[in-house]
């Protein structure tokens, strides 16, 4: 009598261990709103708000991961571009809409507008174009909403709690493209058969802190003196966060990599 080998865990079991993106998004919305009000109360506490803005990038990267696992190869960049464009446009538009740059209602307006636009576009892709991706509308609004939260907080730090100057407008291109890249890259960089949510989201943390470091440098250089201390706080906390997250991510990479060697030749190929 032959004994059967133990079956490998089914795909559903592995999937079940993953955190649903909607939970990540809810966490990002809550931390984002708290971060916004901390900043509105005292701009010099920006270093706390920046920590509270990172979950938004994690949620957005989770959304990109979910959508692109269904075979959107080169579409990874496009979906990141699109999602961040919606988020960035919503935030930039709210600046021009009211005379007071950021007010008590800003985060709600931004989150609701970003979420609705993302949901409608996702629904169009689901119903009209008939893309066969489960939960497409939900994941689409996760990307747009998260990028809106992140850009709102970054812009508030750079404007030191809402004191906008025309010089701030020069930073819009880099804020848009930087956020787009860190939302789409964690999945794009980890693409492959051995990709898993845990490692992708750790990479998202690393990249979120990397890009806030860059925004911190830009904020320190802004000629507007009131934004110096918030931006310096953002820069320092981002560097610390970057070191911590890279350590956590590298631990996971070491676990997942087949073999780590200094040098060597591929086996089986004559040389």
């Amino acid at each position: 009598m032959t004994t059967q080998a133990p079956e490998p865990p089914a795909a559903e079991e592995v999937e079940a261990k993953e955190i649903p993106n909607i939970k990540l998004y809810i966490v990002a919305v809550i931390t984002g709103i708290i971060g916004y009000y901390i900043l509105l109360a005292n701009p010099n506490l920006a270093f706390i708000s920046v920590i509270l803005a990172w979950p938004a990038i994690v949620a957005g990267a989770g959304g990109v991961e979910h959508l692109c696992r269904y075979g959107l190869g080169t579409g990874t960049s496009s979906i990141g571009y699109w999602g961040t464009a919606v988020g960035a446009t919503v935030v930039f538009a709210t600046i021009f809409m009211s005379s007071q740059i950021f007010n008590l209602y800003s985060p709600f307006i931004v989150i609701i507008a970003g979420t609705i636009i993302g949901y409608v576009v996702g629904l169009c892709a689901e119903r009209i174009i008939k893309m066969k991706i489960p939960e497409q509308a939900q994941q689409s609004f996760i990307i747009t909403g998260s990028s809106a939260i992140f850009i709102l907080i970054v812009l508030e730090v750079l404007s030191s709690g809402g004191v906008a100057t025309t010089k701030l407008y020069y930073t819009f291109p880099v804020i848009y493209i930087g956020t787009a890249l860190v939302i789409l890259h964690p999945y794009n960089g980890s693409l492959g058969a051995g990709e898993n949510q845990s490692r992708t989201l750790r990479l998202a943390c690393c990249e979120a802190s990397l890009i806030t470091t860059l925004f911190g440098i830009i904020g320190v250089l802004l000629p507007n003196t009131t934004s110096f201390i918030p931006a310096l706080g953002m820069l320092i906390i981002s560097l610390i966060g970057f070191a911590v997250f890279v350590k956590i991510w590298w631990k996971k990479v070491k676990e997942d990599t087949y073999e780590i060697v200094w040098t060597g030749y591929p086996a089986g190929v004559p040389h």
Binding site: Y170, V174, G189
Partner: protein
């Protein structure tokens, strides 16, 4: 000659020259990291059993990453040049030194993204028994970072020349973002053919394209030993780099050149550029027909 026309002519020449050099460097930078289109081939190689020693710098496709390098370098440069100007340094010196600082910061960011992408991709290749070779990452990494520094520096200077000497109404960071995205797209569309379809497939018949059956069957051997990503850019600079440079430089040059005329007021550039596009279109259609009539389909693929 009027001083305004002279300034414009200097601006057009300078912008064209910077764009040409930026095109060559940018294509080399993408080849040093197997970025953009060839990346899919490098990505597929371990799946068909080819253990690779390429630097797998998958940073979100070429246009967005170049947009980020150019936009952030230019934003830092612009803000820093104001600080330098406050300290009493002359405007042109301030811009040049600030551009160097901006590009240096960007090259560190590029290095971080490259390391993240390579290590994550290799970890994701684990089902195919692909080991992580540190030397395969650390040899091309500084090279790629250096080329990213030059690309960011040149695109920043191009943005300043366009907004200053040529009088473009947009702010330099926005121009840099647009230049970065267009240069990335051009390098991805024209330059990468030389790398992805030729260099990676040197052991197949020249010019035979990449049918599905060959996907991922990339060349693993270099001129000596196993091929590493530093072996690629010098090969691709001969054709891929120059074609990218030609395409991007010509766009910038022809766009600037139309500003020298004023016969129809504000519509002059629109009319002239429409004529240039029409001439190019007619020439390219003729060239395509001439090539197909002269050489026909590839041998063995007549029925396709």
């Amino acid at each position: 000659m009027e001083p305004v026309t002279l300034t414009l002519m200097i601006g057009v020449g300078l912008a064209g020259a910077i764009a040409f050099i930026a095109g060559i460097i940018e294509d080399a930078e993408s080849d040093a990291g197997s970025a953009s289109n060839p990346n899919s081939q490098v990505q597929l190689a371990p799946q068909i059993g080819h253990i690779i020693r390429y630097y797998d710098k998958a940073i979100a496709g070429e246009p967005p990453q170049n947009g980020l390098w150019a936009a952030s370098a230019c934003t830092i440069a612009l803000l820093l040049s104001w600080r330098f100007a406050d300290m009493g340094i002359g405007q042109y010196y301030a811009i040049f030194f600030a551009a160097v600082v901006g590009a240096a910061i960007v090259c560190l960011v590029q290095g971080c993204f490259g390391v993240f992408a390579h290590l994550s991709r290799i970890a994701s290749f684990s089902p195919f028994k692909q080991p992580l070779y540190w030397d395969a990452l650390l040899t091309p990494l500084p090279y790629s970072m250096g080329l990213a520094f030059l690309t960011a520096l040149l695109l920043t200077l191009l943005a300043f020349v366009t907004s200053g000497l040529l009088g473009n109404p947009f702010a330099p960071p926005l121009l840099a973002l647009l230049f970065g995205i267009s240069l990335g797209s051009i390098a991805s569309g024209t330059g990468d053919i030389q790398y992805g379809a030729e260099r990676l497939y040197q052991h197949h018949i020249f010019g035979s394209g990449i049918p599905i059956s060959k996907m991922g069957d990339i060349d693993l051997k270099g001129e000596y030993g196993f091929r590493n990503s530093v072996d690629t850019p010098y090969f691709c600079m001969r054709l891929g780099g120059t074609i990218t440079a030609f395409a991007f430089g010509l766009i910038i040059f022809l766009d600037g050149w139309t500003r020298l005329f004023t016969f129809a007021g504000e519509w002059t550039s629109v009319i002239l550029e429409a004529i240039v596009v029409a001439i190019l279109f007619i020439f390219l259609v003729w060239l395509e027909k001439f090539t197909r009539d002269s050489y026909g389909p590839y041998p063995g693929q007549e029925d396709l």
